[in-house]
């Protein structure tokens, strides 16, 4: 039995083991074909929750006095629609629903960070699973999947607005001019610009959520050092409660902000792709 397996069964022996344990995915397969089951399960589950929540609002929608839930959903939809309207001036029947999906879904996935740290692992433990990372956006696979999807959408908008030939023409002539000598530098610059978008989008969300998760773990370690009613234990427990509360409150801002940024950048990139040079 290796050290990690031992920790999975008997509980962590020290702080490094505790954190490494919490950073291990429940995965099957090896190498390139590793499937992080916890990430896939949580993201699909939260996607279904998103659909169910909005579906229930649309079922019960009335043109009379709206209920609280309907008013809230209307606020969210209107907010997203306005954000799209401000930046993206073409037909937004595709982009606005996409932006709404991204916003709500990423928000819910980020919000998993606010669950008590050991709770998901304990629940998974009831089913005999020893590793369960509950925040799907703290997994690079999720954020890159989303940003690459956005990347495809952006290219689709570019081709739709300019035509395949027009887009290719722009790739080779855009920043410096149509002189054949400049084709290669133009293309190289455009390539860097295009590729930097999905990478920065994915890394931003991942970095924020991963760092947030780790800070929660470090705070949890303060309380985990409890060793009876000694003064040191009580001080670290007080620190645990205070810092945990402070970081959780600050994190509410971060998870909303990151969901909002992901949505706005999707819209901005799409709008940029449709502009003619």
């Amino acid at each position: 039995m290796s050290a990690a397996e031992h920790a999975a069964v008997a509980g962590p022996a020290n702080s490094t083991e505790y954190i490494t344990h919490h950073l291990t995915h429940f995965s099957v397969g090896e190498g390139f074909w590793t499937w992080n089951i916890d990430t896939i399960f949580m993201s699909v589950l939260l996607g279904l929750v998103t659909i169910a929540l909005f579906y229930s609002a649309s079922r019960k929608a009335t043109s009379g006095v709206p209920g609280k839930w309907q008013a809230f959903v209307e606020m969210v939809v209107e907010f997203v629609d306005n954000s799209v309207k401000e930046v993206f001036h073409l037909d937004r029947r595709f982009l606005a629903p996409l932006a709404l999906t991204i916003f709500v879904w990423v928000f819910l996935m980020n919000a998993m960070d606010l669950l008590p740290l050991d709770l998901p692992g304990k629940i998974a433990g009831l089913f005999g699973i020893h590793y369960w990372r509950v925040v799907p956006t703290a997994d690079l696979n999720t954020t890159f999947a989303m940003s690459l999807t956005v990347f495809v959408v952006v290219i689709y908008f570019a081709v739709k607005a300019k035509g395949a030939g027009g887009y290719a023409h722009e790739l080779f002539t855009a920043p410096f001019g149509p002189n054949p000598l400049l084709w290669i530098p133009n293309f190289f610059l455009n390539l860097v610009e295009i590729l930097s978008k999905p990478i920065s989008l994915a890394m931003r969300l991942f970095g924020n959520m991963y760092a947030g998760e780790l800070v929660f773990m470090l705070i949890a370690l303060l309380g985990a050092s409890w060793a009876g009613f000694t003064i040191a234990s009580q001080v670290s427990m007080a620190g645990h409660v205070l810092m945990g509360a402070a970081w959780a409150i600050f994190h509410i801002l971060i998870i909303t902000l990151q969901a909002f940024i992901f949505m706005v950048l999707t819209i901005v990139y799409s709008a940029m792709a449709t502009e003619h040079h």
């Binding site: 490094t16 490494t20 950073l23 890394m203 931003r204 970095g207 909002f260 940024i261 706005v264």
Partner: protein, 90 residues
């Protein structure tokens, strides 16, 4: 015994690197947020009617400015708890 010294050396260098990653990142992010915040307050004092528009953009930019720093922090934390450079020593 020789291995132990090597491990200690890698750990020491990693610790210095972590400090640099987080510290330099924090300097950059703080200066960025400071400049943006001061400009926002200036603009809000000049034209209070623009505050709602500017506030949304300020938060958006705050998230963007913080991002590189937080990516750095995440990377540093990763090296602090699961140092891949040490894996070579078994």
């Amino acid at each position: 015994m020789e291995n132990l010294a090597l491990i200690a050396q890698v750990q020491g260098y990693t610790a210095i690197a972590l400090g640099l990653i987080i510290g330099l990142g924090a300097i950059g992010a703080c200066i960025g947020i400071g400049i943006m915040g001061s400009k926002f307050l200036e603009a809000a004092a000049r034209q209070p009617e623009l505050i709602p528009t500017l506030q949304g953009r300020m938060f958006l930019l705050a998230g963007l400015i913080d991002a590189a720093f937080l990516i750095g922090v995440a990377l540093a934390m990763f090296f602090a708890f699961a140092n891949p450079l040490l894996a070579r020593f078994g």
